[in-house]
């Protein structure tokens, strides 16, 4: 039972992470290869607070805020560089995060932070993570329906044209980064308390690519598709243990196959089969 609970918790956290990245890349069209850094920022910020005696809920809020604040800063970079250059910049942000965390003794360096207070039991974390996932799914569906979603879409399709019709491209890009990275911070904060131990490697490049693979496999831009992708890619390595050993290889191959045969991912397959678009 415990095992299933922890798989469910991780699936829910991955849904939160993938939907956050989808907000940035799927909705607003900004590439990000460093999403795990914000997951890590949330985890470290919340862990430090909890260890220092800050109440659980407040620590989680700090995790969200710290990740979101750094997200806005990276969002500013997206105002200067586009596409492949942005991919490199965000990848760099990921490595920078790891590089800094690994060397700072107050962050536990390679050993990470341990003995993080944990107020909930396994069921509690599962419910919390699932609650967070449902909230982010609803937010994501709402954004898509709102004028914010349409503005994101305009920015993603042609930012120069968007500007000439009065869309505040810079404002929308930073907002997308804020929302996407703050949700990653939420996932990180929950993760830190649940495992009670965080190490830098949990937030490395492979983790960023894993999140990206969830988005791409699910169907970039489609909320429900991305949920499906996140759940599938959480459960699959559990069913086929060998995947864990070759994660980067398997996910790399998966990205290639999806890009080649169904660039719109599972959401695209669904559309082709049913003729309807997945939200």
């Amino acid at each position: 039972m415990d095992y299933y609970l922890s798989v469910a918790t991780f699936a829910a956290l991955n849904v939160v992470l993938a939907l956050g990245l989808n907000m940035i890349s799927g909705f607003c069209g900004q590439v990000s290869l460093g999403h795990a850094a914000f997951y890590g920022l949330g985890a470290y910020a919340a862990a430090l607070c909890s260890v220092a005696g800050v109440p659980f809920v407040a620590s989680i809020a700090v995790g969200i805020l710290v990740a979101g604040a750094f997200g806005v800063v990276v969002g500013f970079a997206a105002l200067r560089v586009r596409e492949d250059f942005l991919a490199i910049v965000t990848m760099g942000v990921g490595f920078l995060f790891l590089g800094v965390v690994r060397k700072q003794s107050w962050l536990g360096a390679e050993m990470g932070i341990s003995k993080i207070p944990s107020p909930l039991d396994k069921t509690g974390y599962a419910l919390l993570a699932i609650g967070a996932a449902i909230t982010v799914v609803l937010l994501s569906l709402h954004v898509r329906r709102s004028w914010m979603g349409r503005a994101f879409d305009a920015v993603a399709q042609d930012e120069d044209a968007a500007r000439t019709i009065g869309v505040d491209v810079a404002g929308y890009k930073t907002t997308a980064f804020l929302l996407g990275t703050a949700t990653a911070g939420l996932a990180g904060a929950i993760y830190a308390h649940m495992t009670q131990l965080i190490v830098p490697d949990a937030f490395n490049f492979v983790q960023s690519i894993t999140i990206l693979a969830m988005v791409v496999v699910g169907g970039i831009g489609s909320t429900l598709g991305v949920v499906l992708g996140a759940v599938l890619l959480t459960v699959m390595p559990e069913l086929f243990r060998f995947i864990n050993d070759y994660k980067l290889l398997v996910y790399g191959a998966l990205l290639l196959v999806v890009m080649r045969f169904s660039p719109e991912g599972l959401a695209g397959l669904y559309r082709r089969v049913s003729g309807r678009r997945l939200a």
């Binding site: 709102s146 000439t164 491209v169």
Partner: protein
């Protein structure tokens, strides 16, 4: 009354002075035709006015206020709207959605306000009326990637009008349209102008420009060559030779 004033504007691209110490004033309510041979600096001038480009020197003023460095989207929000020579539709959207997004400018001005705005009815109705006005309502639901250029050109004008412009800068709106379409759109431009909209029109279709413009300004090598009433300007020999490289051919 002067609405838009450009003072001593210059910009160079790698040594080529595209616009050289140019000054001009657009009067409120006028329909200014901006013409000149290819490379005269017309499009560059429009881009400087809308903020796509920032001049090396010089000032752009609206109602006396310096807007030289104001970002593009702010100018668009103020009602300074440019249509591009090469149409830039949102290709994954329908024609209607393309116009809707401009019509919802008020809801989208601020991302947080946009997040709580979900009502599309008003924008949809307004966009539809504009498409009807431009005579392309039949293709409202069609994807922007599937309609002919003539439709896109007119969609772009609809999209510009959806922003409630005070000043409309049209960069070759008639190019790519057939004779009837061009004539209809030119008539609509006159109608809009008669309704009080100030318009600057860059156009190669000299017949239509001379017919509809209230004033004509000829650019040559980034500077003003001539300006005045359309017929008089077109009758000048220096204008003809600038255009035709010395040959004299009757216009219009």
């Amino acid at each position: 009354m002067t609405m838009l004033a450009v003072e001593n504007l210059s910009i160079a691209f790698g040594g080529v002075r595209a616009v050289a110490d140019l000054s001009l004033a657009v009067q409120r309510g006028e329909l200014l035709g901006l013409i000149g041979p290819n490379g005269a600096g017309k499009t560059t001038l429009l881009r400087l006015m809308t903020g796509v480009l920032v001049p090396d020197t010089g000032v752009v003023r609206v109602d006396g206020r310096d807007i030289t460095r104001m970002p593009i989207h702010r100018r668009a929000q103020l009602g300074f709207v440019l249509t591009h020579q090469v149409v830039r539709p949102f290709r994954e959207m329908s024609l209607l959605e393309n116009v809707m997004i401009a019509a919802a400018q008020r809801q989208m001005r601020n991302p947080w306000r946009a997040l709580v705005s979900v009502d599309t009815r008003e924008a949809r109705e307004r966009a539809m009326r504009l498409l009807e006005r431009l005579g392309i309502a039949d293709a409202a639901a069609k994807s922007a990637r599937s309609v002919p250029l003539g439709y896109l050109k007119r969609m772009q004008v609809a999209r510009a009008l959806a922003l409630d412009p005070q000043l409309l800068l049209l960069d070759e709106p008639l190019a790519g349209l057939n004779y009837t379409e061009a004539r209809r759109l030119a008539d609509l431009i006159v109608e809009l102008n008669a309704g009080g909209l100030t318009i600057v029109l860059v156009e190669h279709n000299l017949g239509e420009v001379t017919r509809i413009a209230s004033r004509l300004l000829v650019l040559h090598n980034g500077a003003t060559l001539a300006q005045g009433a359309p017929r008089e300007v077109m009758a000048r020999s220096d204008v003809r030779s600038a255009y035709l490289g010395g040959e004299s051919v009757a216009f219009a």
